[in-house]
Each structure stands twice: as structure tokens, then as C-alpha cells.
Symmetry: T
Subunit: 142 residues, 12 copies
């Protein structure tokens, strides 16, 4: 059974209470549940994690590159500044998809650019938790 890693970046553990007018009321646990439901439909195994530590996220991306067959990453704030995270994504042989809950192009100028988007197959931005489900289909789907 294929394993898909879903890696969540900084502050996403606060979803639901963090600026809900931007990020919505769904918690990360809610999103996890939606993903697990979809994973069962797609017959894939999920490895769903969150960290506020850039280094840990890079470790996990590398681990996914060895152990999973696909990767979904919500880099959150690190996407805008982390060349190192982009380099980790470039270094792994599995397809990756970048997800953002909000539409980053309707927000402050500095959020319009992510380094990570240069290293993934595609980007999905603005669909809240649904974006993760879409990404799962893209990574794990037929």
C-alpha cells in the first residue's frame, strides 16, 4: 500500500483559532480527518505531521523521499523564505504538491512568492482544507 506524507509547516497547529477570517475555522485535526477519509477511498496510507521547526520539516521531507511515494506540503510561512526547504524538495525523487489554505495572491505582496513552488509538481492555493484533498488526488490518484 502506497504511503503519502503530508507535512505541515509553522503555526498550522493553531488552525481554527488563528486568524479564522483568513484561515477558516477548520482545525488541523479536522483537515487530517478529511485527508484520512480520502486516503481510504484512494487506498493509500497517510503520514500526517506538523512542526514549527524548519530543520525538522527538512528532515521529514528527506524521510518522505526515502519512504513515501508522494508528498503534500503546506510550507506556511517558511515557503516565502526557505531556500533550504526548496532544496530538500528538489533533492527527493517523489512527486510533491504545495498547498496553501488561503489564496496567497490576495494577501500581502511578500506572500505572493514561494521558493517551494519552484520545486513541486503543482500548487493549490485558496481552498482551505479541500486543497489537501485535491492534492491527495493529484499525488495518489490514478
Amino acid at each position: 500500500m502506497k504511503k503519502i506524507a503530508i507535512i505541515n509547516g509553522p503555526n498550522l497547529n493553531l488552525l481554527g483559532t488563528r486568524e479564522p477570517e483568513i484561515y477558516g475555522k477548520e482545525t488541523l485535526a479536522d483537515i487530517r480527518k478529511r485527508c484520512e477519509k480520502k486516503a481510504r477511498e484512494l487506498s493509500v496510507k497517510l503520514d500526517f505531521r506538523q512542526s514549527n521547526h524548519e530543520g525538522e520539516l527538512i528532515d521529514w521531507i528527506q524521510e518522505a523521499g526515502r519512504e513515501a511515494s508522494g508528498l503534500i506540503i503546506n510550507p506556511a510561512g517558511f515557503g516565502h523564505s526557505s531556500v533550504a526547504m526548496m532544496d530538500a524538495l528538489l533533492a527527493i525523487p517523489i512527486p510533491a504538491v504545495e498547498v496553501h489554505l488561503s489564496n496567497i495572491f490576495r494577501r500581502e505582496e511578500f506572500r505572493h512568492h514561494t521558493y517551494t513552488s519552484r520545486a513541486v509538481r503543482g500548487i493549490i492555493s485558496g481552498f482551505g482544507g479541500l486543497g489537501y484533498v485535491m492534492a491527495l488526488e493529484a499525488v495518489a490518484g490514478k
Copy 2:
């Protein structure tokens, strides 16, 4: 039965033969078929069009604003330059989603920015024809 408009911008009529290493081998007719299959699953009606004329695309966006309940737009090259198309999207009361076949963030610098992305719910970039199907779920799905 809800109607979803799918509006395709310039040069997308050439899909399949146009720089296939970037845009893939699927033709626009192939994408239309995938969308129609998904539309049947979602019990929505599609209105699928393509034009190389910015004015016609704006007319169609306005028309969709009056007659459809959701809009999927692949602005192609106009996304990068057309404030007018962005304004049309801002002027209509229905949810819209922007789709790009290629991951525009892995391409030339001037393709990283679209005006239209400021006027839609979300953006999906890099998934080829599958991106349209994802967008349909986002616009028409539960």
C-alpha cells in the same frame, strides 16, 4: 441543475501540439471530455469555451456572472497582463477558480504573477487537465 462556465484563454485551442513538453499531449477536447465526465458525477451542466480574444473572454466572464453559478478560468497569457479581465472577475457575484496547466512558478519570471489570481477564490497550477477536474470539485462540489 447548476451551470458551471469553463472559459479558456488564448492559444489553448492548440493544446496537444503546442510545446507539449510544457503543456502535455492532452488536447482541449480531451480536457473537455474529462470535465464533462466529472460534471455528470457532480450533476452540474458545463459551458465550455475557448477564445483568443480578450474582449470575448471578458464578455463571457460577465455572461457567466449572470447565468452560471460558478466559473473556472484558464486565462493563459492574458492572466499576466490583463487588469480588465481581473476587473471582470471582481465584478461578478459567483465563485471563480483559476487553473493553469503548467506550474507557472517553474517558468519564466514574468509568468509567476497573474492579475486574475487577485480576483478568484483560489488557484490550481501544474496539474494539466486534472487541474480542471479539481477546480470543478471546488466550484461545484458540496
Copy 3:
């Protein structure tokens, strides 16, 4: 009797319903009526048009250059991107005035610049439909 052309750019056909907090509640028909009233006072004939098509707008600017004695243009979104429309204005021998309903300098950065403003006698921005009446006085007045 002198003829004044009034040419309206993309999305202005939606006035009244389009983002009324920015553009006001007057429709384009309302503005036309105000202009016609003023035209009668000034004893000039009006040719009032709107299009979402850049090419058609350029055709009309050229036509006005041959058949009218003055031109009022609200380029809307095309003003920010269209060198071609600026070139059309530069190519005609009659005085032209640029009008914007909203004060474009209080809006997004990319709206602060218009190419067309380099090719007209003057610019009037921020006065809603009244701006057209002012422009008529400037173009057709003594």
C-alpha cells in the same frame, strides 16, 4: 454641429452593480443621460459607446479621430496595460480627455499608472459620472 465621441472601456457596462462601493450606483445609462443633457447645453452631438474589446476601442478611437472634434475616454482596465490604445490616442489629431470614475490614486499601486494619460490633454479621476460632464466642458466648451 460638433460631435464629441465618448468611449467607455471594459466592464463599464456593469456600472451600478459592479463593486458599487468603488464605482458608485450610477449606471452607464445614467451617465449617458447626464452627458446628453450637458451636450444639449453645449450644443454638441454625442457618440456614446462601450466595449470590452480593446481592438474595437482602438477602431473607435481612430474613427473619432476622423469624424469627431473631441474625444472623452474612460479606458478602465486597459489604461493600465495598453500601449496600443495610447498609440491610437497619439495618432489622432483631436483633443482627448481621460476620465476615471474612482480616484485611481487611492487604489492598488498598479492602478496609479495609465499609458493613456501620456497621450491626452488631461485626466479627471475620482468624480464618478460628474467627471464625464467636466470632461465634456473641457473638450466641447468655449
Copy 4:
């Protein structure tokens, strides 16, 4: 009877002799006369002033905010550099209009931007003395 303040910035006292190919041959006294004629038609009282001193202009803007019901300002060169004058305009509760004699968008790049334009209802540029009359109608008109 309503009072409208008309405040003129630096070097406008030289009108008529100052670079007439740009600013025209009308003197500031001529413009004052045109404004007073219009004011009588509109049944408003004028307070017409000029200064080369930014601080004095700010004092006058504040005074207008207390004593007049509308303000017309030609900030001249200060418009391009004075955040303080913009702040004064933002601080007063009456409608203000910015006027420029020449079309600032056909001139040097640094003249295309004014801070003051962010703090007024609208801007009129390129109509010589007529621009003041237009502004009077906008501020004092029905």
C-alpha cells in the same frame, strides 16, 4: 453662504511668466478671477491664497478644515514630496480636490506621483485654469 478654500502651492505666484510653454500664459490673478466668477454662479464664497511655505500651506489646510466646507488644492511641487501635506488633508473632515495646471503624466517620471492624491476625493490635471473651475463645480456644486 458656503466657503470654499483654494490653496495654491509653491511658484504658482509666478504663473504667466514661469515656463509658459508648460503652464500657460494665465496669471494666478486671472485664475482667481475665473474662480470668483464661477463662485458667484454657484453662490459660494472663496478664500483664495498662495504660499511657497509648506508649513503655511499645512496651517491653511487645517484652517480650511475648521472654517470651510470644501477645499481645492494645487500642491505644485510639494505634492510629489510632502507626506505632511497629505496627512493634513487626511486629517480634515471636508471634501478636497487636487488640481494641476499641466498634465503631470506627460512630464518627468517623478511628477507622475503625488502623495496628496491619496488624500483627496479626486484629481484634475492638464486643463490650465479651467481645472480650478471644474474643481469648484465638484466641491461646491449641487
Copy 5:
């Protein structure tokens, strides 16, 4: 007999009267005659067109890609803003040459860059109608 398409962009129909100090006194008809004379020498067939409509120009570029063996394009003002026209040129399998009547590098800064130049074999700028003849030699010549 080979066919060469010559496609002219916005405002070129006004040549001869449009800013002759920049564009010269030759009309588009004059240029067409020079081209036809050269075409006879080169034993090629010409398809010479002009439009102010970006969409029509894109349609014609695509058509040339199917039916001609070479393309000469004077994008005029659209060259500076149209990613869509560049994409059309990138999508066709025939050699294309970009021509400008004036030397665009001696003019305003925004005219120094064209998107279309990234998608053609070469660019010829500053030689008036002769530039078309040169281009014909390059595209149709031995």
C-alpha cells in the same frame, strides 16, 4: 509556391499620417507594394494583413502556423504587453521575424522591451518599410 504571412498590429493602418516624424510618410499600402515586388523576386506568395484586435492577430498567427511557411510580424504596441501573442508565436512551427518601423531603442523606456522578440528568429528595428523587405529575404530567401 511558398506563402509568407505578413501580419501588422494596431494603428499601422494609419501609417503615413500617424506621427510621420517617427513612423515616416510611407503608408501601409506603400509597404505592401514594396513587399509584393520583393515577393515576386523571391517567388513567394504574400498574405498581408492588419488588425487593431489582439485576438484577431493571434488567430492569424495560428493560421499562419498552419498554412504559411514563414511569418513577418510587426506587433506594434502589442509587442510590449502581450504575453498571449508571444505564446502564439512560440506555438507555431514556422520561422518568424519581428519588424519595427522606428528604432524602438531610441524611444521611451517602455518601448525597449517586447515579449514577442523572445519568440522569433530575429528582430529588425528602425528601417521603415525597408525592414519588411529585409525580413522577407530572411524568411523566404535562400
Copy 6:
């Protein structure tokens, strides 16, 4: 007894009524009172002034350089544009502190930079009238 000069720039005389959602409801007189209370605690003498005139502010900075032992300056709008005021601060031998009522870094881009901050010991921004009291401690405290 040490004297501390407190110099307030343009439009600060309007505090309390000027955009209170940004600047708060305290008037400049209220702030003066808070400062005088603190001054008594610190056993220093205050010289508290306000002007809308850049030249007068420069004169006062120079005067403070001769007569006071410390300076607190709220340059308001002049901070963003006045090299001359920065030069005055560089020219005096006493420690100076820059105070802003609002957090200038949460406002428009052009307010994020002040020339004056390059010429002072430190900057305090965002604490309303309390900022002046903090500055007094820094300048006059042990």
C-alpha cells in the same frame, strides 16, 4: 536643572480628532501633561513645542542643541522626507530619541522609512502618548 526639548512635527496639533482610529483620542495637551508629570519625577525641565513648519522645526532642533541636554522628536510626516531635519539632528551634540504614536511599520510602505531614525539614539513607535514618557526616561533618566 536639566532641560529636555520635546519637538512635535506637522499635524500633531490635531491629535484627538485626527484619524483617532490610528492616532488615538489623546490630545497633544494630554500628552504634554503626561510628559510634565514624568518630568517632575525625573527632576527635569521640559520645553514642549509643535509646528507644521519644517524650517521652524529645524531652528528648534538647533536651539535644543545649544540649550537643552536631550531631545525628543516626533517628526510626523517630515520624518519620511526630510534630509534637512536628519542633518539638523546629526549636527547637534545632545542625545535625541524619535517617537511615533502609531506603529509606522503596520502602515503604508512609505511610512516604514524615516531619515531621522538614522540620526537618533533610538526609536519608539506604536505606544501612543506612553512613547513620549518612555523617551523621557531614556533621555533624562539616570
Copy 7:
């Protein structure tokens, strides 16, 4: 008794020996003592920490958001690059103040901007250890 968190970023553990001409001779322990003295005066409890790890700092900001009633942050070098730390500050419901020991506006250009300053009540820069005491008054004071 209210708790105030004081969180110190990278390299601040080296204070006293690290470039003392810029940062002064006070050690972080010295600053902690000054803060504790002030805290006793203000009857608040302190939680004073330092880390070189961005992720740990984000964890602590989140923890402060749950357990403290105010936050003082010296982001040091992370302030200039960390969108993630800014996002953490935006996500918590307690008032925060940013402190820098040196006046960052007198240093290299890239130090003039901090992301974190967009997410705090105010910023205090250039007062060495005293800045922490000021911040305590602002956060914990009456």
C-alpha cells in the same frame, strides 16, 4: 499575578562579548536582572528565555499566547527573514512588543526591515537593556 514572557532570539546568549561596540557590554544575564527588578515593581512574573532555534522561538511564542498576558520579543536576526515568526505573533491574542538593543536604522540596509514589526503593538530600538524595561512598562504597566 500576571505573567510576561520575554523571548530572546539567536546569538543574544553571546551578549557582552559579541561585537560590544554595537551591542554594548551588558550580558543577557544583566538584562534579565534589570527586567526582574522592574517586574517586581510592576508586580508581574517573568518568563525569560533565549534560543538560537527559530522553531523553538515559534513554539514559545505560541506558548506565551496560551499562558502569558503579554510578550516581549527580541527577534534578533530572525526578525529580518522570518515570516513564520511574524505569523506566530499574528496568531496569538496577547499584546507583544519588539525590542532591539541597537538602533537597527543606523545599520546595514537589510536590518532596517523586520517582518515581526508588522505583528506587534510597537517597536523599541536602540536603547540597549533599557529597551526591555521600557517594553515591560508598556506591556505590563497600568
Copy 8:
């Protein structure tokens, strides 16, 4: 006998004590004496002034335009920001020369540009008080 106006901008009254490592030890009175000596040699009359007030400097430039036959201006800090002072220089019919005591091109980036330099015959920068004498020769010399 010809009159030459010498107008000195903000903070130049502090010469001799103000940052002598940059501006030297000569006072403005010393410079005035050097100029008067030179003026006697050249048989011209001097009108030597200094002000910290931009408005007063503009008044004086206009006055010089009416009453003197040449102008020497050291705009000091206002040179970098004052479009209004540039406009005053453009408005007067007499030759003007800009002088700076220090070589502004060896200093901070923002000092490399002056608006006033666009409106004078020439600029002399870096020669201390001698620069005024050179300027006198240029303006009043044979």
C-alpha cells in the same frame, strides 16, 4: 554693478561645528568673507543669505530671479527632496550654480541625487568654501 545672490540652505548656519570631519572647520561667515573678497575682484555685489526654511529659500530664489543677475545655491539637505526648489530655479531667467561643500558622491546613496541639479547651469561638489569662489567666477566672471 551686477548683483549675485548666494543662497544657503538648512543647517549651513552651523558650519564649523557641524560634523567638521565632513564639512570642514570654515564657518559660513568665513565663506562669506572669501566670497566678498572674490566679489570685489570681479566688481560684483553680493547678497549672501542662509535659511532653514524651504519656503523662505524659494521666496529668495524668486527674488533673485527678479533682482540679481546670477545665483549661487547650496541647497544642502533640501536639494535631495525638494521638487519645489527645483521648480523655482527652473522659473527664473538668470544663470544658477549649485554648490556642495562635501563631495556628495562619496557619501550615503540618497545624497548622490539632487533635484536642483536638473535646474542649474552646473554643479560644483567637494571643494569646501573654495567651491563658492569657483561658482562666483562661473556666474559673474567674464
Copy 9:
């Protein structure tokens, strides 16, 4: 008999072996032969030279200005950096044409701009050795 100077800049002596995928396999001798053949047709005399020395190239441009009736210049790398070479072209009274073998607009960003293009009648870029022949027709043709 008219003389046309053809001046070739740095590294063009290596043509044929230098990055042939960019510059083609023709040597400079081959190009010279093509030019001489064309010159005989046009009944003009050629003076064909190459140097890697900017100063020598400037000397030759000046010499051509005295002795030839037209100039063709391939500035190669110096075109992107040499104001001095542009000034030489501006200083001579004969028509000049700039030629580039490759289409410089399809290459690195810094190759898109040449100073020399501001000083010539026109530019021909992307046609290999044929570009020289075109230029000869433009300079020496009827």
C-alpha cells in the same frame, strides 16, 4: 565609390568555434566574403575590421566618421556596457547600423539592452551572417 566600414567587436575573431550552438558555424572570414560579394553588387567599397580593444574600436568609429559614408557595427559584448562607444556613434555624421548574430532578446537578461542601439539608425539581431548583408543594403542601398 562609397566606402562602408564594418567594425566587429570582441571575440568575433573566434566565430565558427565559439559557442557554435549560439553563434553558428560561419567564421568571420566567411561573413567577410558574404559582405564583399554584396558590396560588389552594391558597388561600394568595404573596410572590414575586428578588434578586442574598446579603444581601438572607438578610434575606428571616429575614423569611419571621417572617411566612410556608412558604418555597420557589431559591438558584441561592449554594446551592453560601453557608453563611450555609444558616444562615438553619436559623434559621427554618417548613418550606422547595429548587427548581432544571435537574437539577443532570447538570451540572458543583461544582453537585452545595448547602449549602442540608442545611437544607430537601426538594429538587426538574430540572422547570423545574413544580418550583415541586410545591414549593407540598409546603409549602402539606394
Copy 10:
């Protein structure tokens, strides 16, 4: 016996398999062996580490500052974004050298700049594992 710290940044643990066309086929273990061989020749002791965690790298730089007599750092992706790592290097009293495996100046624009290069004695870029050996000679050599 002197100790030299060699600190490797993010993703360098993947060397050999990570984009070998850029980074080569040597693994980090191979590089370590080359360094240890060189260290024996130079009679120095090595402390060779790698981490994906910016904070850990900063801790190690500080540790090296206390315990080693020289430092070699390959900051990898963190070099481009980490002011904090630069600050750590500035804070330590031992000589440091920056090494990059690839020539960062032949790669994407954002890789041309590193903050860390401002805080080291020198930089060696483009020599693969040999660069480490060179750096060892520079840091530990006579």
C-alpha cells in the same frame, strides 16, 4: 593540536544522490575522508558535522567560536536567507571560510548572494569536495 570545525548545512547529507549533475557524485562521507587526510598532513584535528537545523548550526558556530581555532562552513541554502547565521559568524573570534560545492554564480539569481559571505574571511565556490581541502589550507595552513 589545533581543532578546525567543519560545519555543513541543510541537505548536504544527501550528497551523491542529490542532483548529481549540480553537486557531483561525492558523498559527504567522501568529503570527510578527503578533509581528514588533509588534516593529518596539516597536523590539525577536525570536527566535521552536518545538520538541517538552522538553530543547531548556529549553536555549533558559537561552540566552534569557543573551542576551535578555525571554522569552515558550507551554509547551503541557509546562506541565502539567514541573517542569524551571519550574526553568529560575526560574533565569533576565529577565522571562518565559506565553501560551496557548485559555482553559485552560474545558478539561479537568488543563489548569487549569501549573507554569510559578509562575515567570513573568504569564499570558495565551485570546486566540489576540493573546495573543503582548499579551505582547510587557508584556515589551518601556515
Copy 11:
């Protein structure tokens, strides 16, 4: 007897005929005569040269550094691009003055900046041949 070197850059040998509306009608020989007359007054020896070769100019600057006691340089076009010439000026122990015939600040944007100005005592721009005489006084004067 002191020797002053006067070094003239590219195209200055064409003075008198080269764009006389910008550079005036004086030839370089005329300027040399003016300088020699002034030199006799100042009892200094001149070494007056001109070259179009950057390398030769650098050689001469170095030679002047060994053999002259002062240097006057008109770098002409090389001033805008030559770091090497700036470095030569930085490397020599004698005072240098930069002269430009025209006021470079009234010309194209790229002429406003010279590298050489960062390496000289002062700059004199806009006074034609008189500028050389002024420079002689500054370099050779008491």
C-alpha cells in the same frame, strides 16, 4: 615646479564638432590653451593628454600618481562604467578632480552616476572649458 596631469577620456578629441549643442564649440586644443594660460598664472607645469583607450587612461592615471602632484580627469563615457578607472584613482596618492563639460545631471539617467566621482576630491560639471580652469585652481592652488 609642480606638475599637474590633465587626462581626457574617449571622444573628447572630437570636441568642437561633436554634438556642439551639448558640448559647445570649443575644441580640446582651445581648452588646452586655456589651461596652459592658467597654469602659467599658477606656476605649474601641465601634462595634457587624451585617449579613447581605457587601459591607456589607467596607465596614465598610475603614471600621474608617481610623477604629478595633482590630477584633473574628464572620464567622459568611461566614468559611467569603469570600476577599473575608479580603482586607479583610489590607488594613487595625489588629489584628483573630475570635470565634465556638460551638466551630466540634466542629461539621460545613466549619465547621472559616475564611479570615478567616488574616488576624487570633488566634481565640477556643466561649465564647459571653464571647468578645467576651476579644477586647476582647486588642484594647483595654494
Copy 12:
């Protein structure tokens, strides 16, 4: 026996006396000796040259391309401006290494970029004369 060319750019002949606080006290002759000693160890022949003439340096790079098996270049000031020198390096088939005596990244902004670095195998900056020895090992070593 392999030959390695070492080519030194402008002003390097002045080493030892030229700004020794930046470039050190070693002369170019000293560096040559170090290189020759190393060359003997490596059993390669050196060709060590210096010129202030860009054209000569390009000639020498081309010559090295024909006659040497490796190249070490210190482009000095030309590295920052010379596309032509970069093109010469791109045109030759032998490996090249760029050396700078000082760490160019700790100096003025304009020294952080060199064109030549895009055309070499690697760059070594900041190690004084030792950098040449390192480069020799890289180019000539096993």
C-alpha cells in the same frame, strides 16, 4: 609539460602600495613567486601576466584558450563591468578559475557581482596571494 596562464587585470601592478588595508602588502612579484614555487611542485609551466587594458586581457584569454591547459584570472575591476571578458572566457575550451585578493562580498555593493564568475569553473575570494596558489591546485592539480 602543461602550461597554466595566470592573467591579472587592472591596477594589480600596484599591489603592495595600493590600499594595503584592503589588498595586503604582498606585491604582484611576491604573488608570482608563490605561484612559481607551487608550479614547480605541480610540475606545470606558468605564464604570468598583468595588464590595465581590457582588450589585451581578452587577447590573452583567447591565447590561453589556444596554448594553455588551464587559466587563472583575477579580473579586478573589469570583472564587474566586462561582458566582453566573460564572453572570452565562455569561448575558450580550457578550465578557468576566478581569483580576488579581497573578499568582494564585504565591500561595496557593486563589487558583489562579477560577469566573469558566470564563465568560470569556480571563484576564490578573500585569501590574498594564497588564493592564486589554491587556484593553481584546482586547475593544475590531480
